[in-house]
Symmetry: none
Subunit: 203 residues, 4 copies
DNA sequence: AATGAATGAGGGTTCATTCAT
DNA sequence: CATGAATGAACCCTCATTCAT
């Protein structure tokens, strides 16, 4: 690939990022419907037409914002190793949750979009997000089943519990995001893990 | 108040309810922005102008729908009695949660509206919902503090834990609502309580 | 039907006509694409939204304009009677053509729209006009065949001749419309009929 | 002119032709407004900017397409010779019409553009086409007058008849173009001439 | 000469809200 | 009280044209 093309491609990617970033902020502040192309291009400091050079439609940018977020999350979701020599499940879980929280909480707009967008934007994107959450619930449910089988966890309805745990995490993220400044991630993580693992009851 | 006025007032209230019911369904199916006045008045079988005799604006009906829901929920939220002769906290909690779930899950549109609307519809309504959730979190947080003080619960960050627990409940409601037919409320309640109290870990 | 409804219906029809009339002018001046909703509502002196209370879309008004024109034309197109006691075919034809020309030439915008709109507006309307012209050609072709069979007309390719005659009429209409003031319709009609019947050659 | 310049000029002309050809197709398929620069440059396989190196605007290409067509037509329109030793007017006319039809019908896109473009695209080009048709009508009208004077033709309104004859030709061209495969040009020509000269009536 | 990213005016359409009846 | 025709701001999107490379 000639040098100019490389530069062109990278410039194009940069522009795309710039728009994506602007869109993420606008979506997070106004929701899908409340967000106007006007607001996005104003924030991105580009012309109306330019927007449509990079994204087919409002729905498309929203999808892209979501995809980006989901990719970031997926990269941080890993299976818990239970083999010999593996670190303790709780430690692994702690690392994973910590990493996830860090990613989400650090990018407040992203978190807002992720949290708020059960509001059916327009079919496909909503479906994609729903699919993502279903996917996450499945991972959790499977982990729960495994945990039960190896006797680490008590018996429970895996699906329901997975849904509850996902909600629990969302609740915590919302908490962190809603206040100007959230407590250190490691503290939050510890509380989260403790709550999920041993509940609130005193022994 | 003369008889006619009483009748008039009750008729007025009935009309209002009729619109409110229609609006709740429409909001739950289409979200705040997706809901159109047209859809609401069509469902309520009234004329356009009539709508505005009962509600100031779209935002106002949405607020009313929310308020109605919140009233129903508030009625079911009670302090846990810890005095002598009181039933066990767990039993009280179970009853309360059970009652709340029943109320919410039975009225799917209501549940949908409650769940979906962190998506900032339009400032005020969103604020009202946020305020409601804050209120709920406060109740939970206070209960947690009390529980810790009397040694029933282990120490934790009450605010954070309250947020997590609220999320947990929402996750479960979402789970129940999302499938066509949810498991018996009492089972769901038991799982919820167990998870919250003792977590997932086997003893 | 109650009196108010009658009035309402007639008012509605009047409004519709008003918009239709404005649209006809605008379409005739700017063509389908060149015509903007803005121009139409400005001419009709109504608000943007009002337009859409009466017509679904720009395409729909165009279709309505066309339909109106086609209805007017169809009413004036009749079969030539060849039975005993019927007036001479030439006289019948003269009357018909005269009536058609009068209708079209008197309404210049209408004529313009009819003439100019092979310009593919948008699928359906274009198809409708094309269908109309096809229909007219068919009527002419059939008449020609009949005429040939009864020995009134010389042999010819009916389809081709019908197309030519239709074009001939359109040419004349265009001529009449293009000049500010056209010659008396009866003169034009006579020339048209003569040309079609006996051509330009001297006997 | 240096050799390089000659080559350059011819290359430039070739490029221009290439764009013109693409434009003609696009205009004929989509009409003036429906045609997009995008479609033209795609078909011509050139870049956006390049287009504007050869044509000032969309309107300008359209004008050029029209001019090209009109040039082709003009070359085939000749005066009928009436002097001694000239071939019979009918034969001359037949040759001319035949040549014209061949030119137009063979280049369907061109025919489509010519036929469809009374739809005022954008003032100037429309004016040019109108001027062309006026010019053609004048030639026909003059020929008619001459024919009448020398007793070859019966008396008629030359202007009106010219308009009618032009329409007649357009009707026939439309007929030929609209069907996938038109009858042999010579047959069409004969019908056309016969119709124009002696009409449809049996002698 | 050639490119194509960028521009922004302008297009059609929707819909919450008002007000004369 | 109830009605629904009328309003017009705001929306998303297209596309002819420009200009830095």
């Amino acid at each position: 690939m000639p040098v100019e093309d490389v530069r062109a491609a990278s410039q194009r990617a940069a522009r795309r990022s710039q728009i994506l970033e602007a869109a993420k902020h606008v979506f997070s502040e106004a929701g899908y419907h409340g967000a106007s192309i006007h607001a996005i291009i104003e924030r991105a400091e580009i012309a109306r037409g330019t927007f449509y050079l990079y994204f087919e439609s409002k729905e498309a940018v929203f999808g892209a914002v979501l995809d980006e977020a989901m990719t970031g999350l997926r990269r941080r979701i890993v299976r818990i190793e239970t083999g010999l020599g593996a670190r303790s499940p709780k430690d692994q879980l702690t690392d994973m949750v910590s990493s996830l929280l860090e990613f989400v909480v650090a990018d407040r707009p992203l978190a807002t979009v992720l949290l708020s967008s059960s509001s059916t934007p327009d079919a496909e994107a909503a479906a994609r997000l729903a699919a993502f959450y279903t996917e996450v619930r499945s991972v959790i449910a499977l982990s729960l089943e495994t945990g039960v089988q190896i006797g680490l966890l008590r018996r429970c309805d895996p699906e329901l519990t997975a849904a509850a745990l996902l909600g629990l995490v969302r609740g915590i993220v919302e908490h962190c995001v809603s206040r100007g400044e959230s407590p250190p991630i490691e503290d939050v993580t510890r509380e989260l893990i403790d709550l999920a693992l041993v509940g609130v009851l005193a022994r």
